[in-house]
Symmetry: C2
DNA sequence: CCTTCTGTAACTTATTTTGATACAAATACA
DNA sequence: TGTATTTGTATCAAAATAAGTTACAGAAGG
């Protein structure tokens, strides 16, 4: 289970919330559709909350709803809101500083990493949550 | 240690090989620069071999060298050659088919995943191994 | 032959994600 | 005010995977 699917789950959850605008949706209900545990969903909602994408309420009749209109939320925001690592990881242990390649490779790779990540965000930012919601609802890809 | 750094290690190794054209380089030597175990390097070289990026020789005076000129190897090929998962993982467990969102979300996410991955490869393909080698050697990013 | 290397299998360790249980605090409502 | 409901969060267990390690067969040079 070590493959990070938080972005997928986040999009799923937000698409659900997009379908029930202004009404509070319970983590239990979301968990049921995502097919996972309610705590996993609540952890995810916590991150989306911090990113001001959702609003949650405790207590009876509590639950979560979108903080903004689905047209105003794009996938890049979701990507940045959740913990989904980097495109590729840099070296686990720092390379040898005694080697001319090892000495500088990390800087070059880090730079590349940032560039790629910027590209991903650019592509993701082209889609709004509304777009996704419509694609899912219409069963059209 | 569960963050996949195979792409980083692969670029590192190939940059080393680019620096010693035509001469066999031993996995031990590469491991030393990457600061890891020689077996980890050999496993990596195995994948690069399958992708026809390197040629390895067993036996005394064995080792590995580039199969092609560094100008003819781009980073997208390296990315595809090594196991570095997807940009984001789809749901670990399939979402509920009873939910209109759950039923279709995977198809939409899968499509998005492929589009993003194509974008990554496009960006990576702009760099050759020679480019990287020069950046690393000159300590310029 | 003997030495040097790679290729690969097998096993261990470290790290991370996800799943599950439990409970305090917040809120609605009777 | 009291009760039921729901989130937030802590804590622990389970599962998956990457990386580290040891070991050894087999290839190649001399």
């Amino acid at each position: 289970m070590a493959a990070n699917s938080q972005f997928s789950m986040a999009v799923h959850v937000l698409a659900m919330l997009a379908g029930s605008r202004d009404e509070n949706t319970k983590s239990d209900y979301l968990a049921c559709s995502v097919n996972t545990n309610a705590v996993v969903i609540r952890r995810l909602l916590g991150q989306l909350n911090q990113a001001s994408l959702v609003i949650s309420q405790t207590g009876a009749n509590g639950g979560s709803r979108l903080a903004r209109c689905p047209n105003d939320i794009n996938l890049a925001e979701i990507y940045k809101a959740v913990n989904c690592g980097e495109v590729f990881a840099l070296h686990a242990k720092a390379p040898s500083k005694d080697c001319p390649i090892g000495k500088n490779i990390e800087a070059v790779l880090g730079c590349l990493q940032r560039e790629i990540d910027k590209g991903i965000e650019e592509k993701l930012s082209r889609y709004t949550l509304q777009n996704v919601f419509e694609m899912v609802e219409q069963g059209k890809v």
